[in-house]
Every structure is written in C-alpha cells, then in structure tokens.
Symmetry: C2
Subunit: 239 residues, 2 copies
DNA sequence: AAGAAGTTAATGGGTAACCCATTTAATTTG
DNA sequence: CAAATTAAATGGGTTACCCATTAACTTCTT
C-alpha cells in the first residue's frame, strides 16, 4: 500500500527530481543538463551525492554522460535495454530457468503471430515473402549456412512482431530472444534437415498469415518455437 | 556484435566484479560485504567510485544497504521489482501506450490460462473455487464492494498464474498489472452489473479450466480481460 | 588559403581527509 | 534487573584538490 520511507538520502531526492523532470517533459530527449559543478550549486549539495544520482539515472537508461569540454549529462530516450538487463539478471541468478523462459517465448510468439494475422498489411506480407526467399538460399550444411539462416529467421520473427503493430510484444520478444541466446553462445553445428524443417515451418506460417488464419498461425508458430527449443536443449550447451 | 568500450571508469569495473561474484555464487543471498573503508582498501580505490558502484548495484536490486553499526551492504535476492521499474519508465515516458500494454496483457493472460488448463492440480482447482465463493460475496454496489471484488479478482488471476507453474508468466503478469493499475489510480464507481458480468466470466473460466479445455479457457480469459480494459477505458481516467 | 599541429579551457573522473547521523552493543546507573 | 547512557562502527555528506579527456581555438607550415 505505502512504500517504506528511507528517503533521507540526498541522491534519492536528486534522482526523483531529475527523473520527474524527464518524465513530465520539462527535460526532453537530447537536452543537456548543466555541468556537475553548476548542478551542485543549484541543488545546494555536493558532488558525491550528485554523481551517485547521475550514475543511477545512467543505469536506468535516462541519461548518457560524456566527458571532456561540452560534455556532461544528456537526456536519452530510454529503450528496452534496462528492462532486458534486469530480466537477464533474474535468468543468470537462476531465479527463472531456461525452460520457463522458453515456454514463455512460445506463448508470446504465438500471440504475436495471431495478432499479426489480423493486422498484417500487404506490404508486411510482401516483406515476409522476400525474407523467406533469402532463408531458402541459406538452407544448407555448414556453420556459416547455419548462422546465415539464423539471422534471417530472426529477421522474420521481428518482421512478424512489427506487423502485429504492438511495441510491447516487439520489446518483450527481443528481450526474451536476447536472454535465451546467451545460453547458446557456442552453437553446435546443425544439419541441413533441421534447417529444412524450420524453413518449412516459416513458409507455413507466412501462408497461414496471409490467409488471416489466426488460430492456425498461433499453433504453427508455437510448434516452430517448440521445435527450435527442443533441438537447442538436446544438442545445445544447456549448462 | 561488440560493445562499445567506455570502461575506463572505475565504478563500472567494481560493479562488474561484485555483480560477477554474486551471479556465480561466490557471494550468496544474505552475505554481508565488508565495510566501505575495507572495500576501498581491497580494491585500491577511493570511496567515491565505490559508493557509485554500490548505488548502481542497489538500484539493480542486488544489494541492500543499511546504515549504522553492523550495517553495510547485504546481498539481496533480486526480484522482479527492477524489471517492473524499468518497464514502468517506458510506459510513463509514453514510449508504449496503455492500449498496447492492455493488448499485451490480454494475450499473456490468455496463454497463462491455457497453460494452467493443462497443468492445474486438483488443489489448484479447489483453491480457485474457494476464491470464487469469496468473489460472489463481494458482488454488489458501492465503492467498498468494488474494491473487495477487485482484490479477489486479482487473487484469482495470480492463482491461475501459479497453477500454470511458470514464474516468468507470473512475473510478467504482475508487472503488467502493476503498470496498468497506475493509470487507474482513482477508480470510478462500478455498478453491480459490471461485477456480475465479471463474476460470471471467472466462473466460466474456472469451469473450463477444470475440464482442461485449453483453447476455450484462452478465449474466455481474453474476453474477460478485454471487457475489463474496455470498461476501464470508457469510464476510467485514461489521460 | 588550407590544413596540420599544438594550446587552452571546460568538464567528468578520481582521491584524500574530514565530519556528521544513525544504529547497535556494551556499560553504567537507579 | 531494567532503563538510561555511552561508545564505537558504519554509511552519508562535504570540501578541496588534481588528473584525463575532449571540443574549440590558435598558430604554424606548406
């Protein structure tokens, strides 16, 4: 209900004030804050706490700090990096397992695809088909074929998320993808059949997407992701 | 591919070292770090950068810092608070809209319910039914009836997430719920019919869940959440 | 002129020495 | 024995420096 009051610390007040100014628009993206020595004057405090506040705001992704003349703190547009970072901490701290994350990804990718089926524009479909053509070229053996295929596969997933037209899904998807990726740093070599299967999955997905069959797309996407996870877990470096 | 090298700053090295020690288990939850003056000795640096590092780690939810004798930095189990915080920033910075967040919630709640339909134990079902009984009591008019009903409704959602047995879903759900909630600080009064409808939704969901009808549960849950969002948007304080 | 090289000054980063406030534990006192 | 007091450890904050970096300015060379 209420939050514990520990706020006797100056840096917390500084963070709150600057963050407030950014969030309600008094400070806009790209604006430059005064130099630390001036801020210290304005806030009537000393550099220690001020620096701590700037560190925190930097870590939150709200500021970027450059050194040298004409340097200083610049207001930054916060992206999903801090969200991904803290989620990554949970994963690496083993509070959530790879299996849970994979299952989550399965559901989210399914939902994203289902929404995309309702909203994809002809332009989206065209782009997906062009990506499919690229993917087809990369179906083959060898490590560089695998990497190229993965790259296109990823672009297809992102394109579908964009077609769904919801940035939350897009953010979450990329976030989860990045965090899962960390588990498979050194990909073992995948064979041509695996890529062939995956390529077929993608074709089916795009086809169903074009026909706006939302539930079918969801199921196809889920089984596609599940297949990928299964392969990764069986052969990959799950520690 | 590579990350920009700006790491001449001492505090970043300190953060990396301490974070590393926590993540690979050399420091466990509950462990106490040496006093700042000792750490300064160990790291051969000065208090300024050390304090900045501790601030960052505190903000990441990895440390808790107490003052006074026997105080100091204690390793903390990082929860979802930092993730929720940074997501909240994105929402408040208007990078993502309430509509997008609501749609996301719809999909996630649907997936959670579908998984729960496959996994719910008899004990889970029993608990849900007992919560339904409580909800029934609160269906009525007046602001306190509405608040009580909301409280039970929320408990039911959480219980379903727990039944799904995937903490990622549980985290994400609570995170999204908290962030959506902020938009509706002052709930306008809802009438008895609205609560009646919602209660009926919940009953249908639990019934389908007991029968393990995953797709039906997903659809029911989605329409339940959608109804809630629609009401909130039409009458609520969406700025 | 034009460009290269050096200079300057602003700015963040870091250090050291110090004091204050808080908090727990030990000690004194009634 | 309990309450009050004192002591000591610890984080928080302040001040006064100095250093490293960097953009802008100046000067020199061709």
């Amino acid at each position: 209900m209420f939050k514990k009051i520990t706020q006797q610390r100056i840096f917390e007040d500084l963070v709150a004030q600057i963050e407030g100014a950014i969030l309600d628009g008094r400070l806009k993206t790209g604006d430059q804050l005064p130099a630390q020595r001036d801020l210290v004057d304005m806030f009537q405090t000393s550099r220690g706490p001020l620096r701590e506040a700037l560190r925190v705001l930097e870590q939150k992704g709200l500021l970027e700090i450059k050194r040298g003349v004409r340097g200083g703190a610049v207001v930054k547009q916060p992206g999903m990096a801090p969200v991904a970072e803290s989620l990554g901490l949970l994963v690496r701290h083993r509070e959530i397992t790879l299996a849970e994350l994979s299952e989550f990804r399965e559901g989210v990718e399914g939902s994203v695809a289902a929404i995309a089926a309702q909203r994809a524009t002809p332009a989206d479909i065209r782009q997906l088909k062009s990506l499919l053509k690229q993917a087809k070229k990369h179906v083959g053996d060898g490590i560089e074929a695998w990497q190229a295929f993965c790259h296109v596969d990823n672009r297809i997933h992102v394109a579908i998320a964009k077609a769904a037209g919801n940035r939350v899904y897009e953010f979450v998807l990329r976030m989860v993808h990045d965090n899962i990726q960390q588990y498979y740093e050194a990909h073992p070599l995948k064979g041509q059949p695996f890529m062939q299967e995956n390529y077929q999955d993608l074709c089916d997905i795009v086809t169903a997407l074009e026909k706006r069959q939302a539930t079918a797309v969801r199921a196809l996407m889920q089984s596609h992701v599940r297949r990928f996870n299964r392969y990764m877990n069986s052969q990959g470096g799950n520690p």
